[in-house]
């Protein structure tokens, strides 16, 4: 891969926003510090200068207010991109997201759709402690009326935003904080926002991951391959609605499944995927389903504790070995 045509995940996201702002006058970006500061994670760096304060808007420190304003703008015919600093803070806007954005279409009998895109950072691994590090995308994946995306690659970071803006209903994009510095090929600039992707093919075990754990699952697959175990790696990409077909196709070939989720285990996305496999592919299973999730604690600040709490390559490898052995 030549450095010439690779960009970082952060640049890919910025390029996607830039493209959207250029293509459609109705698109604008708003959020805390997205303008003058260039975004807390520097995603929107330079966009204020390029597009002006009408279209790149700094907001007051009130998630409920600016997400609500985004919903209003969407109802009024705009195509807002709302950035929330982290998923933890999105809880302040949960009322707007669940009770308005996800619900208005249904409560208005189909008259009021909300073409809103909300981007936010999720996940741990950067010593930002418990109030900035959780993975709550599984909570949002519980809510009917939302589409939940988790780009894990530079190509998806570059290509998911435009189709999300074209979706007539609210779409939430979860960007794992550890990915912003990752480099890769941006691809042609547009991808589908409906399906999971097979990132690696193997016949022995299926590793199911998304967002920040996809890279760890791929690294685990490398380790396993050296041991003679070939893993399928499924990158979910879309957390709601889940692409059952891709999951079941893979499990139907490997007969073993390991689900990797940076969310907590109890009542989480991994539980949902596990039960779907049990419902739809029970007779294909040759071993109990394994899960690798975050320890059920608030994410610790101390580096060694934070590392111990999260799914890591060795724990994924161990779970895969268990699935293959049991």
């Amino acid at each position: 891969m030549s450095a010439a045509n690779t960009i970082t995940y952060r640049e890919a996201m910025r390029e996607a926003i830039r493209e959207a702002l250029r293509r459609d006058d109705r698109v604008f970006l708003m959020g805390e510090d997205v303008g003058a500061y260039g975004g807390c994670f520097a995603v929107s760096l330079g966009l204020l200068e390029e597009f002006g304060p009408e279209r790149v808007r700094d907001t007051p420190l009130s998630e409920a207010a600016f997400v609500g304003a985004g919903i209003g703008a969407a109802l009024g015919g705009m195509r807002p991109i709302v950035e929330i600093m982290t998923v933890n803070f999105s809880l302040l806007a949960l009322d707007q997201i669940l009770n308005n954005a996800a619900t208005l279409l249904h409560m208005s009998g189909g008259q009021l759709n909300v073409p809103l895109v909300i981007r936010m950072t999720t996940g741990a691994g950067r010593q930002l402690a418990a109030q900035h590090s959780h993975s709550l995308e599984g909570w949002y994946a519980h809510i009917p009326g939302l589409r939940i995306l988790a780009p894990a690659t530079v190509e998806d970071a570059r290509g998911m935003l435009w189709p999300a803006l074209e979706d007539p209903d609210p779409v939430l994009i979860f960007e794992h904080g550890s990915l912003y510095g990752v480099s890769g090929q941006p691809g042609p600039g547009q991808v589908d926002i409906t399906s999971a992707a097979l990132r690696r093919s193997g016949k022995d075990v299926t590793l199911i991951a998304y967002g920040g754990t996809t890279g760890k699952a791929l690294a685990a697959a490398d380790v396993l391959s050296a041991e003679g175990t070939e893993a399928d790696v499924v990158d979910l990409r879309v957390l709601r609605p889940l692409d059952d077909a891709t999951i079941m196709e893979s499990v139907g070939r490997t007969h073993r499944a390991v689900i990797v989720d940076e969310g907590w285990r109890s009542g989480g996305l991994s539980a949902e995927i596990g039960i779907r496999i049990a419902e739809q592919a029970f007779y294909q299973l040759d071993a109990p389903i394994q899960r690798v999730c975050t320890a059920e604690v608030p994410i610790p600040y101390a580096r060694h504790l934070e590392e111990a709490a999260l799914p890591q390559v060795p724990s994924i490898v161990a779970a895969a070995r268990e699935a293959v052995a049991s």
Binding site: H255, A325, S326
Partner: protein, 461 residues
Amino acid sequence: MNERAEFVMPSLGADMESGTVAEWLVKPGDRIRRGDVVAVIDTDKAMIEVESFHTGTVESLLVGTGRRVPVGTALAVITGAPPAAEPVSPEAVSPEAVPASPEKRAARPRRLPSAPGAPHAPAPVASPLVRHLAEQRGVDIARLRGTGPQGRVTRADVEHAEPAPEARVSPLARGLAARLGVDLAGVHGTGRGGAIRAQDVREAAERGAGPPPPEAVEEAARPPAEPAGARAVPGADQERRREAMRQAIARAMARSKREIPHYYLSTTVDLTRALAWLRERNHDLPVSRRLLPAALLLKAAARAAAEVPRLNGFWVDDAFVPGEAVHLGVAISLRGGGLIAPALHDAARLELEDLMAALKDLVARARAGRLRGAEMTEATITVTNLGDQGVEAVHGVIYPPQVALVGFGKIVDRPWAVDGLLGVRPLVTCTLAADHRATDGYTGGRFLGILGRLLDRPETL
């Protein structure tokens, strides 16, 4: 290790004293597993396929086909039978399968002497009910110390025993084994805790360790040209068989009337709702799977028996032994005369459509003479339905050692008062003949009451 075990002429009914080996389905040198059908026995009533209690190799066949020998006679020697793998030897069990009248039992050796030179491995004695319970709970009777009379293994012994760890088989492996015809009992599991995985099944299939499924054995053993229904003994034998069956029925029924103080109850049930429901249900079913009223009646009887367990079981040694499940004996009249009452296993838990299919299968096999030994001995309560003959009520004779017999008459349209209005309704007379040693009229009345209520709410069946 060269354990030897005998395969003996089993007792397949209260009335059976001897039998004839009609056909051997194994030959010396064959590997067999516990539960494999090894021979077809011509009792006086029917041709019964009999399963082995042992796993091992057939060393020799002691009795050729066509010879009539008493119950308990050794028919074959099986070697290499690991003692732990065979909880109960048939010689210990068969006399118990259906207790003969006391004088008969005294005349018959309780246990046969072991084959010459064979080490005498005492097998624990247990009633079939206890054995059944042990199987259900995964308890190996051979490991138990019986606390009953003469060291007999009792229900309590089994209930207090630690069950053997259940075999762990992955869903994929289970399906694969069924497709490849691999017997999971012979597969070595390599997963955690000995779990059997798909790979283990594939290897077993490649080694050929798995015997073909019992159906395949049957098919192979059956002369190809012979139509399924033509198993009945041809020609002059027919007459002899008819006579012998008459004698067998005579013995069982005489014993029943001699030993069992019957009491009889009767009730009339309005089937308006049941038949309407059945019509509705059949509307959506293909002709081949339509339900007959008999299926409803049988299911209701089985469910009622499950709710009144005192009527579901056996009177053995002056005490009532409850059945572990409702194995519903179904009286089937045979072409050319005679009667047989094989069991529909666990009928209370069968879905109606499954019960209908099982009933069809049972009747077809009974008439073709292809019943299994277990079906002949395990019925816990019997139902007789003489409605086809136009009979309105049947007061039956209990099949010992069972303690109850349920009778259904013809479904007839009759004037019937409902809510103070007279109308024409389809009615059926349900009767109960029950053993007064085991229950009193109150229990029997409760049974008929539940039966009536179930038939009035067919959607719950």
